[in-house]
């Protein structure tokens, strides 16, 4: 017994140090990486300023394709933001013990992708200087206003959801600041002290934290579902072929959950490797979350079937033109590659236990992430190129669309922004919820101890009975 207890303490200590170690250094490679990201962001900013000065005409968008890469990226980023809700809230509410080491990274992904997803429509605005009009003249009947309301709610909620479980960890960082040797020690100490909100780990504080977490877990799930539903409504509320679909809400929500959880796997793999967390994020975790992605892919496949097979069977005129273009026309290569890569391939790969090993899983998830992005583009652009009225005698650039360097640069800057915030975050705060993993260790330990105690007692009992038997014989 004594021996076991000592081991648990040691385990907890190793865990704490493993989690805090990356927050104490800012190595050469990190500096280079941050510098690289800053260059991309700088160039993107320059392009955006160029766009502000000369208008959206510097992009490839024209009068038929009036929404392009920015809106596709908006849908994609808001989609990944569902990862945090899925992994944290759903797995928390269903009491999945294995969620513990991955909740923090998932919640962080939610937070940053919402930040950068949320600014996409603003980047896409013709008059960002008039953004206050949304408050002054805002009308509830516009799907865009629904988007703004639900995204702001979700952003606030997921920020709280990210921050709450950080409080005990902040206290830990604060208490161990002595071991930190970087230049910014003083600043860090002040930051941790502030963010710990006077956390002392008393019983009432734990109780309050747990109650709030439970409430937030329950609230955040419907909010997350509402977000992607209304994102789909900016398309589904129009009469356009390809968008005018009652399935769009659930279709977008499932697509979001599935691409989001794939991105969580990528984050897990990266942090595991970079911060040497192999001991805590194990093969088993990848296997389990692989099964989650597999299940979601199957639901997504079912949604795709409904979204394309039903209109394809009927081939109504306007819808038919669009579908013909997607299935056999100019978008067919992208469409079928996308369907095979993001639906068929993941199902095949992840159905086998070998496919849920880290390397094949990561490769599949990279394909899913890119494919999900392309899919958003295939939802937005081809529909705009298939209006009800014919496209006749217009400048060449109006009847085709491919994003140009301005759009790519600005979008790349947003992606770099996501990486930058994640990097800086991981250099300031532990990337695993230390106390949650600790709790897991304790539960694990307790159950082991319980088994041991039981076996011991059993052995004692049998010994005793033997003794009594012997005595009886005597």
């Amino acid at each position: 017994m004594e021996n076991e207890k000592f081991d648990l303490k040691g385990e907890v200590e190793t865990l704490r140090e493993a989690c805090l170690k990356p927050t104490r250094t800012f190595g050469r490679s990190t500096q280079l990486w941050v510098g690289f990201l800053l260059i991309i962001i700088g160039w993107g900013l320059y392009c955006y300023i160029h766009q502000l000065r000369h208008g959206l005409g510097v992009t490839a968008m024209r009068n038929y394709v009036s929404w392009g890469l920015y809106i596709s990226t908006f849908v994609f980023f808001i989609g990944i933001s569902h990862s945090g809700t899925l992994v944290s809230a759903i797995l928390r509410i269903t009491k999945q013990e294995w969620r513990r080491p991955i909740t923090r990274s998932a919640e962080l992904l939610t937070f940053v992708s919402l930040c950068f997803g949320g600014i996409q429509p603003i980047i896409d605005l013709g008059r960002p200087d008039r953004i206050a009009n949304l408050v002054i003249f805002g009308r509830l009947q516009s799907p865009l206003i629904w988007d703004i309301i639900s995204i702001c709610t979700y952003f606030t909620g997921s920020t709280v959801f990210l921050f709450l479980p950080m409080i005990p960890d902040m206290a830990l960082c604060r208490d161990r600041i002595g071991e930190c040797t970087t230049r910014y020690r003083k600043f860090k100490k002040r930051l941790y002290t502030f963010l710990a909100l006077g956390w002392q780990g008393t019983k009432s504080q734990w109780h309050r934290l747990e109650t709030t977490m439970t409430i937030m877990t329950i609230i955040i799930i419907p909010v997350a579902v509402s977000v992607h539903t209304v994102v789909s409504y900016i398309f589904a509320m129009t009469l356009r072929p390809g968008w005018d679909s009652t399935l769009f809400g659930p279709y977008f929500v499932v697509g979001a959950l599935y691409s989001g959880s794939a991105c969580v796997i990528l984050g897990m793999a990266a942090f595991r490797k970079l911060y040497h967390l192999e001991k805590y994020i194990t093969e088993r975790h990848f296997d389990l979350i692989g099964k989650v992605v597999l299940a979601l892919t199957m639901v997504y496949a079912y949604m795709n079937l409904n979204e394309y097979w039903i209109p394809a069977y009927k081939m109504a005129t306007a819808e038919g033109h669009l579908l013909a273009d997607l299935f056999t026309g100019s978008y067919s290569k992208a469409f079928w590659t996308c369907q095979f890569g993001t639906v068929l391939l993941p199902i095949v790969v992840m159905s086998f236990p070998k496919g849920r090993k880290i390397t094949p899983l990561v490769i599949t998830c990279i394909i899913i992430a890119i494919g999900a992005w392309v899919k958003r583009y295939l939802i937005v652009v081809p529909t705009l190129l298939h209006p009800f009225m014919p496209i006749q005698e217009v400048p060449e650039s109006w009847s085709t669309y491919f994003p140009n360097y301005v759009e790519f640069s600005v979008t790349a800057a947003c992606l770099a922004g996501i990486f930058l915030i994640v990097t800086l975050f991981s250099k300031l705060f532990p990337m695993m919820a230390v106390w949650e993993v600790e709790e897991g260790l304790e539960i694990d330990h307790d159950s082991k101890t319980a088994v041991e105690i039981r076996t011991k007692r059993h052995a004692d009992e049998s010994k005793e009975s033997e003794i009594s038997k012997v005595q009886a014989i005597k």
Partner: protein
């Protein structure tokens, strides 16, 4: 002699006396008056050499270079007025397709009136060929000013709105440029100002006050479209496309009066006209309730359109087969 002649914005449009006086002056100078008011629009920066005699508002005779003359525009109505619309009217337009020969004079008149760049056709003439067995025909398409407009519903800031006289307008000084209305419009009627208006256009328009009723001066990053020329209607005139049509294709009028009139001044009883000629609206099944009606192209009074330009020859690379003049629905 480079003095620019402009109307002061506070001038009341009701002061017809002065306008007649000006008109007289212009007539005296041997100038054709088109559409009323002082005319002549020049975007050319250079002196054209044409000297025109005009009267200034204070009654002096003046010889000015034609490049320095600006079109007379009455002071625009206030934003609130423009949002309310003209009381007791319900404007409606009818296209008699049997007379349309696709000359695009309506587009030209519209572009001239609104200082539009050549690529932007607020009224666009399509060459339609919907079925093999059917002869092709021309289809001019303005904004349909729908009674159940998909565009105004989705606008987050009420920048595009439906007025009591049936007209759908855009307030370019409120529009945030999200382009949700462009995505929502099933008729592809809306255009976006992707960049600053050209300097030639700015010069031609001059320094006039903005009003949603005249849609100019343009504002970068906002949406524009056919506006049924409410500023012309207020002066008791026809929209530019109606008066610009040499074939008398377009009828315009007030549904409350049940009468529409074309450029030659022929007035017909709207309900009877539509009923007897099988009037219809575009994509009626979408439920948008357009305020623009069409009479089918029966007994055509013009040669059948050449389809070569569309089907054969130089066909622009398109995503999908919708440039053939089929209406998709």
């Amino acid at each position: 002699m480079n003095k620019k002649i402009e109307e002061s914005p506070e001038q009341d449009s009701g002061k017809t006396g002065r306008r007649n006086f000006l008109r007289f002056g212009a007539l005296a100078a041997g100038l054709t008056v088109v559409g009323g008011g002082l005319t002549k629009v020049f975007s050319d920066a250079k002196d054209s050499g044409d000297k025109i005699k005009v009267f200034t508002p204070d009654g002096k005779l003046f010889e000015a270079d034609s490049s320095n003359l600006c079109e007379y525009r009455p002071a625009p109505v206030s934003n609130e007025e423009a949002r309310k619309g003209i009381p007791n009217k319900k404007f409606v337009m009818v296209f008699d397709l049997s007379k349309c020969d696709g000359c695009k004079k309506c587009t030209e008149a519209c572009q001239k009136m609104h200082y539009t760049e050549s690529d932007r056709e607020w009224i666009k003439v399509f060459t339609m060929h919907e079925a093999e067995a059917e002869a092709p025909y021309y289809l001019p398409k303005p904004c349909f000013h729908c009674d159940n407009p998909t565009c105004t519903k989705v606008c987050p800031v009420n920048a595009t709105f439906k007025r009591q006289d049936g007209i759908v307008l855009i307030d370019n000084e409120r529009c945030i440029g999200c382009r949700m209305c462009m995505a929502a419009c099933p008729y592809s009627t809306r255009f976006f100002n992707w960049s600053h208006p050209s300097s030639a256009q700015k010069k031609a328009i001059g320094n006039i006050a903005y009003s949603p009723e005249q849609s100019i001066p343009r504002r970068m990053g906002t949406v524009e479209k056919c506006d049924f020329c409410p500023d012309m209607i207020r002066q008791g005139k026809m929209p530019a496309c109606v008066s610009g049509c040499p074939m008398d294709v377009i009828y315009f009028g007030d549904q409350n009066e049940d009468a529409v009139t074309n450029a030659s001044g022929v007035t017909v009883k709207l309900s009877q006209f539509l009923e007897q000629n099988a009037g219809y609206r575009q994509l009626e099944e979408l439920g948008t309730e357009p305020r623009v009606y069409y009479l089918p192209p029966k007994n055509r009074k013009y040669p059948v359109p050449e389809l070569n330009s569309l089907e054969g020859g130089k066909k622009p690379k398109k995503h999908g087969g919708n440039e053939m003049g089929h209406m998709s629905m």
